[in-house]
Symmetry: C2
Subunit: 439 residues, 2 copies
């Protein structure tokens, strides 16, 4: 299955030019003729606009183009046809992933390394871009994330099938969020459990307390909190497949008296709790809904409760990469740190603790990608080659984005501003290793 069809994003409403979501035909014929001289010039110009990274383009006749004669290439990008060249020039953010997925763009060399190099190079180079190029190559605003849209957005990604995710996520709690490598030698399983433990410690959980979780994935955190901390958890998620798995798993482990999974939107959370937690949902909330989210947390958190949001973020507000938003995560928008903090301001909260785990996410993704590659044939059997290549691009691009610092991972702890029963220090987070011993 190719990336599933998503309702087309109405760009006019979002103020971006329609050409930024041009669909790339999945297939095109290899070009028989040799490249024209203006084609060589164009692709060389693209490389120079990207900051002249150590990258060569190999055209369909085997001819190589470098940014300039002094550059020694460490990577080669091969194009199978001349249309790919034009598509890449017109809209590289979208076309790179689409052409790669379609097998019309190939990479010689390590894909995450190439993308890290490209991200860094473009990040520097774009400061000198003329306005027309900035306009041509810009990403577009993410699609809406209202109640109905959100369901569709989440279904697109998280309902791909539990079997698929089980191929490459950790086998402990199937965590599809950043792990916590408190020491670099941890296994993925240990690091994911360490993440859950780190979060519980930040929330200062005590037996008998109540917790509400917004966006619970396959329910691992809720089960961890219930079994290790003896708290009652109500966990919300709009992904049907995930909720169904989460319920079965809680029942299987005899935790269903402590954990309740609710198939509903975070906006419909009711009740008051000692802790509010959300791991990896904020990316899908959309900046236009932050005031609503702030209000939900404000009304759901008891006077002395602690809240924790864990989310991919940015050093400053930045549009989501067009290909990721279009093909992988419809509606996704990782907030700039100032937008993240604005949620706390809007809810009359006091920020207690911010931790940036950026490089932990690069490492998590490296683990995922390694396992994904081990099972690449299985993935292709489940879906098809196009899907496998798209997910390879997504995982590699995410590794690169965290390495090159275009993405961050923030954990933010906050509370009602007038709560004076707050932890005095963070020493309790480090009293003992958060990860369990290796089995």
């Amino acid at each position: 299955m190719a990336p599933q069809p998503v309702k087309e994003h109405n760009n006019e409403q979002q103020g971006a030019a329609p050409q930024h979501v041009l669909s790339i035909p999945l297939e095109d014929q290899p070009t028989e003729r040799g490249p024209y001289s203006h084609e060589r010039w164009i692709i060389g110009k693209v490389l120079r606009m990207a900051g002249s990274p150590p990258v060569a383009f190999e055209l369909w006749n085997g001819e190589r183009v470098l940014p300039d004669e002094h550059t020694e290439s460490q990577f080669t990008i091969r194009l199978t046809d001349h249309k790919a060249l034009y598509q890449l020039t017109a809209n590289p953010n979208l076309a790179f992933g689409d052409l790669y997925s379609a097998g019309r763009l190939h990479v010689d060399g390590d894909l995450p390394d190439l993308l890290t190099t490209l991200y860094r190079s473009v990040h520097q180079a774009r400061k000198a871009w003329p306005r027309w190029l900035e306009a041509l190559w810009r990403n577009h605003a993410p699609r809406p994330t209202g109640l109905d849209d959100a369901k569709e957005n989440i279904h697109h990604h998280y309902d791909l099938g539990n079997e698929f995710y089980q191929l490459w996520l950790d086998t402990e709690e199937q965590q599809y969020t950043c792990a916590y490598f408190e020491t670099p030698d941890l296994t993925l399983e240990q690091a994911q459990l360490a993440k859950l433990e780190h979060v519980c410690r930040k929330l200062n959980l005590q037996p008998g307390q109540t917790v509400v979780e917004a966006g619970c994935g396959w329910g691992g955190l809720a089960r961890y909190m219930a079994s290790r901390y003896g708290v009652k958890v109500k966990a919300y998620n709009i992904s049907r497949e995930q909720v169904s798995y989460a319920r079965q798993e809680a029942q299987r482990r005899g935790l269903d008296h402590l954990v309740e999974y609710v198939e509903d939107d975070y906006r419909n959370i009711t009740g008051q709790y000692d802790a509010f937690v959300s791991i990896g949902m904020l990316e899908h909330v959309g900046a236009e809904n932050y005031p609503v989210l702030a209000n939900v947390i404000k009304r759901s958190l008891k006077p002395h409760g602690l809240a924790l949001l864990h989310s991919i973020g940015r050093n400053r507000p930045t549009l989501t990469n067009a290909w990721i938003e279009k093909r992988i995560f419809p509606g996704a928008y990782p907030p700039g740190i100032s937008e993240f903090i604005s949620i706390c301001e809007q809810g009359d909260f006091s920020v207690l603790d911010v931790e940036n785990l950026r490089l932990h996410y690069a490492r998590t993704l490296e683990h995922w990608m390694q396992r994904f590659e081990t099972h690449a044939d299985d993935v292709t059997r489940l879906y098809d080659e196009h899907f496998t290549r798209a997910w390879r691009m997504y995982l590699a691009g995410s590794i690169a984005a965290f390495r090159a610092s275009s993405l961050q991972l923030f954990q933010v702890v906050f509370t009602h501003e007038d709560n004076n029963q707050i932890p005095q220090t963070r020493r309790h987070l480090y009293a003992s290793p958060a990860a369990p011993e290796a089995p």
Copy 2:
């Protein structure tokens, strides 16, 4: 000496109405006549607008006014004359401190407790204030903090005389910033050294590195870093008295080969360093200068360097209390957390760690106030009774502001966005107690 004369703040330039900086005459005669009925009504109304706290006003003839007949008072505020009543009604933010300092307003009951009660009450009540009252009782924008203004502002407070500050600050490193009470039983001396150690650990200092400090007070942090971590420190400060003390102290301790104190503005910092640190200066920088500060840090920090800003802040942007800005800290503006973070965005930095030490500052101030009261007679001998009362009000008001959460204390660690040589976890901050053993 009464609070020193400061150049009058030109409100028209700042867009605030002149009546908000009305000067309160330092002396007025006790009123002989009894209060008029409208005066009783007015002061009762003031109490109700302040959220009907458990506070009584005792007027000049001994008559008591409560917000309403149901309120039982825990505190009594006594006014000696009818003009005080009008001044308080017209501009309570400014007049409360001025009248108290002038001995025309007295408080029965614990002053920090009264002010905490008032802050909490007003914070809730003001959400329902009509616009005219919000306008009447608003604080004004702080005065400018350009190069020359900054000198005057800093001179006003920090050049009051080292002898004065020695009466009530810690005897170890004369720290006039928030201490770190990693355990509640620490002495002020231990907690101040723990703060210095906590900051050094956050900066991950290694022997032989170089550090630049912006706003170094009496130079304690610079000496601590040099003596405990073997780093070279260049420390900037525009307070002549403080720099002079700092230099003598470094010489006395044989640290002058490692520490250089520069009597100059942070904007004139030159060179590149492994760490940039600033403890308690950001409050005086002024929001209009944050882009400049961001740029100074950006150009002064080596590619793998870490920066730390430690400052009083707010949960959201809020104007400085008129009395504090006018009488105590001219030009002061503690940033909202979003404004604080904006410095990192403006400098292309990546935020690594934010810690809120709010209640540590309340405790620090309690220690200071206790010592201040022990030496109140000495302070009055150095200056006069008006000064002593003004500082009592300032210390008590600061305790109340941190307890009531209208002030926060943020430590923010950040680095160039492309620096991948960052600490993986914060465990090293907690590997051993930051405070030294009690002597």
